[in-house]
């Protein structure tokens, strides 16, 4: 059976694309899926760091495309999940070293032996983005509940809809801070979904755990881990209810709840 190619993109930089890709890849692998993650951010390699594989890189995506190595040789096996591999981005070349057709060729070859091929797109709407979405069967757009991130997400969704071969697009709202939403100082998930009018596949709470786990190059723990695992299961076709972000509010939240607020 052929696997699915899923591209993770956002338009705006710094919304958590790479963190999301790394954690989804690790979540899918822990659910016994065969996964390969491709870092398509040529020149700004980072997925390797998020997955804790930076010391094991020999070849990269550009080496594959330019024929200096076999695809298999560029696949860095994950230390904790044998069914997970990374194809790193080149750190020395720029994005024009690869074409959309190259990405399609690589992804098609990987599809046969994997359940999921995840592609971490670079920020922006230019060359790198076009490369990253060219082979996609599906696209996940990551955004934050913040004006510029939502605007850029809308732009990306518009571009994807205008593609010759439109693919399903689903939304991940990352870094939601429930306390701020409650105070009316942050867009809620509902707000973002109503503005962008696309299907939601996941909500990831803002959590310091993410910084800690990325420091160590390991999978997130706690509530973010749960959120990523939920998304992974939804990708696998399971019906998973959305996490109740209300359940673990701060002291203020609990106090408010005690008095019936919200």
């Amino acid at each position: 059976m052929s696997g699915r190619v899923i591209t993770i993109t956002s338009g705006k930089g710094g919304v958590g694309k790479t963190t999301t890709t790394a954690n989804l890849a690790m979540s899918l692998a822990s659910l016994e899926q065969r996964v390969v993650a491709i870092d398509a951010d040529i020149g700004l390699r980072n997925l390797d760091l998020m997955m804790g594989l930076e010391n094991r890189i020999v070849y990269d995506l550009v080496d594959v495309v330019e024929g200096r190595c076999k695809l298999k040789q560029a696949m860095v096996k994950h230390k904790d999940y044998p069914a997970l591999a990374l194809i790193p981005a080149s750190q020395v070349r720029d994005k024009t070293a690869i074409s959309p057709q190259d990405m399609i060729t690589v992804a098609n070859e990987l599809k046969h032996a994997h359940d999921f091929v995840l592609i971490d797109s670079p920020a922006g709407i230019e060359w790198g983005f076009k490369n990253a979405v060219a082979p996609a069967d599906e696209v996940l757009v990551v955004t934050n509940p913040e004006v510029s991130a939502v605007r850029d997400a809308d732009r990306i969704i518009g571009l994807l809809e205008a593609e010759e071969r439109p693919v399903p697009v689903r939304l991940i709202v990352n870094r939601i801070k429930l306390g701020m939403v409650r105070r009316g100082d942050m867009l809620s998930v509902e707000d973002v979904v109503s503005l962008l009018s696309i299907k939601l596949i996941g909500v990831v709470p803002d959590d310091e755990i993410i910084i800690k786990s990325s420091n160590e190059g390991v999978a997130a723990t706690g509530r973010p881990k749960q959120a990523f695992e939920d998304i992974a299961r939804r990708l696998m076709g399971e019906k998973v209810p959305f996490m109740n972000l209300d359940s673990n509010g701060g002291v203020l939240e609990r106090f408010r709840k005690l008095f019936g607020g919200g």
Binding site: L195, S197, F259, G260
Partner: protein, 116 residues
């Protein structure tokens, strides 16, 4: 009770999420239609000129705006006809139409007459 607590914990003057929503609604529809507020005003003036060839309208009350409906964008216009003095038998009415801007084949759809 809930209201009192809400008031206590949130500064009413600082509903920044609401402001964000309003700003985004405006900017998304402008981005999607690639119609700046200035272009919109220009177009409104031209449309009014065309309509004036055929009927008298209350220019000061003309309202034309872009609106988000799901992933479709609409140009919505509210154009009240002037109350006619010469022809008292004519009911004052209004022209209302909306123009979809999200796809290339823009369609002009007539809406039911609004009675005031």
């Amino acid at each position: 009770m809930s209201n009192i607590v809400d008031r206590f914990f949130s500064r009413k003057d600082q509903r920044s999420a609401k402001t964000a929503m309003e700003r985004l609604r405006f900017v998304l529809v402008t981005d999607r239609s690639q119609l700046s507020p200035e272009k919109l005003r220009e177009m409104q003036a031209e449309i009014i000129e065309v309509i004036k060839k055929y009927c008298r309208i209350d220019e000061s009350a003309v309202e034309m705006k872009l609106e988000l409906r799901e992933r479709e964008n609409y140009l919505v216009a509210d154009i009240p006809l002037a109350k006619s003095v010469e022809q008292p038998h004519e009911e004052p009415g209004r022209i209302a139409f909306s123009l979809q801007t999200s796809n290339s084949s823009s369609k002009l759809e007539e809406e039911e007459e609004d009675s005031e």
